[in-house]
């Protein structure tokens, strides 16, 4: 190692090196892109969306798989989202959970001791990255599905009613699901617990709560975060209208992020 000494200006702070939100965003983007598992997970998610879209389209060529009025060409690309969402959930939780499990969080909070901006920067980066990747994969799935269905009369086009909203809505759904998972991960500071909680809210509660014949539980099920999928479904396929369902998921995300930020600020690193 060299014994090079550092020269320092004797007067004046190095004030150009201050922490700003854009710089935190850049740091979070570097963190996001420099861990192999992140890029692998996104690849898996992309394959799930495109793959299941293709499978649904091929299987439904001769039949009206989704019932009256719901075009196969519009729905098939969305099917893969229900599988891919699990990958995005894991991505969101791991985004902060891995910082706690490796101790990286102490480095992050040393660089950004006001803490809240670091959490928000991570949320924004994950939210935008998941939106972009999922939107591209859904659009690719859409065109692949239409190609598979081109010989039938089940194909859809972008101009069909609701189709554009469903595609954008699916990307929004996945993006907010990622950010919501991040907030849960930040609250429990543990990857396994975070994933269990989100999967519980998303898959287990909606499946098992309705079995219990108690009316309040049936109401609760209507307000779980998973009802956000209304934004990617044709009208009438969900208990809520598209944007009401999305607003519920958005509310879960916002509340989760606020709670995470408050706890982050208050607790020891």
């Amino acid at each position: 190692m060299s014994a090079a000494t550092l020269t320092r200006p004797s007067a004046g702070p190095t004030s150009k090196f201050i922490v700003t939100f854009p710089r935190l965003l850049r740091s979070e983007l570097i963190k996001f892109l420099t861990v192999r598992s992140t890029l692998w997970s996104l690849s898996v998610a992309v394959v799930l969306v495109i793959g299941f879209g293709a499978i649904m389209a091929s299987a439904s060529k001769s039949q009206d798989a989704f019932g009256d009025g719901v075009s196969v060409g519009a729905m098939a690309p969305i099917v893969g989202v229900y599988f891919a969402q699990l990958v995005y959930v894991v991505l969101g939780v791991i985004g902060i959970g891995s910082e706690y499990s490796t101790g990286m969080i102490r480095s992050t909070l040393s660089a950004a001791p006001t803490r809240t901006p670091a959490l928000l920067a991570k949320t924004v980066v994950l939210g935008i990255a998941s939106f972009v990747v999922s939107f591209v994969s859904i659009v690719v799935a859409f065109f692949l599905v239409q190609a598979i269905l081109s010989s039938t009369d089940h194909a859809a086009s972008l101009g069909d009613p609701h189709v554009l909203r469903m595609l954008v809505g699916a990307a929004l759904y996945l993006s907010f699901m990622t950010m919501f998972s991040l907030s849960i991960g930040a609250i429990v500071r543990n990857t396994a617990a975070g994933i269990s909680i989100v999967v519980g809210l998303l898959l287990i509660l909606p499946t098992f709560l309705p079995i219990i014949p108690w009316k309040p539980l049936k109401e609760i099920v209507k307000y779980l975060p998973g009802v956000g999928d209304a934004v990617m479904l044709p009208p009438g396929q969900s208990t809520h209208t598209a944007w009401v369902g999305f607003a519920i998921l958005a509310a879960w995300t916002v509340v989760g992020t606020i709670v995470a930020a408050v706890l982050l600020k208050r607790r020891d690193a």
Binding site: M1, S2, A3, A4, T5, L6, T7, R8, S10, P13, T14, S15, K16, F17, I18, V19, T20, R23, L24, R26, S27, I30, K31, T34, V35, R36, S37, S98, E99, T102, G103, M104, I105, R106, S107, L109, S110, A111, A112, P113, T114, R266, R267, D268, A269
Partner: protein, 321 residues
Amino acid sequence: MIEVQNLTKRYGHKTAVDGVSFTVAPGIVTGFLGPNGAGKSTTMRMIVGLDRPTHGSVTVNGKPYAAHRSPLTEVGALLDAKAVHTGRSAYNHLRAMAATHGIPLSRVHEVIEMTGLQSVAKKRVGGFSLGMGQRLGIAVALLGNPRTLLLDEPVNGLDPEGVLWVRQLVRSLASEGRTVFLSSHLMSEMALTADHIVVIGRGKILADAPVSQILAAASGNGVRVRSPQATLLAELIAPTGAQVTSSEPGLLYVNGADAAAIGELAASSGVVLHELTPIETTLEAAYMELTADSVEYHSAPTGPSGPPAISRPTTTLTGGK
């Protein structure tokens, strides 16, 4: 400059840091010593805002750490070299840290070179040895060219070349006017590196003084004298106020008078001296004395006990800068 005022940290019933106050001055190397569990790491974590104090305050260059707009240029901290994502390369970790402050890539390359990480910079941190991980931690601490350095066990796992490098680096940084605060259990290194020592035990400050003063006040200092007229010499020394002990005939151990004074006293009274040896205590012995009552985790003794019994000071040392 780090100012700690009445800092307290409680975890439930346990008080890890108990009303601690001290100042770490710029331009010198200040060592932070204490037994395991004494509260060293907790205190250092509170300095950089990772832990919230229960009471009291700590400021760095006049402001709490979190109030600085450029924290990494104010304080470079190595508290836990393992605070890195194992799946990321050292280079990318440094890039991510540098990006938060807009520190340029050239600086990242500079610290990689300074810490000797060039050959492993692009490798995953998970595969690093203890020493390489430690060098990465030092690289991160130096990234912002900080005015203050906070190092918790910086030479842990380093080879002798690395230990020497850290000692030289730390001394040269202090001589540039920076504040250097480092903790270590390696007494011999600390004695060579530090100018000022703060000793903590069971959450309380036991000593806060220049190294020379801590060594001088320890009881291990003295003069060993062998003389056929030992008893006579002891009687001659007694009025000067120095303590004289004798463990065998003809051997005296004098505490509180220097060798020259004893020699002159012997000569003026015609006492023959066979040996006149100044004994200097080590920082290790002085530290053991200070913290004898404060050790949390005692090891079981093995074999015959080591150092001879030493008297404990009855007052706490605090000294000037």
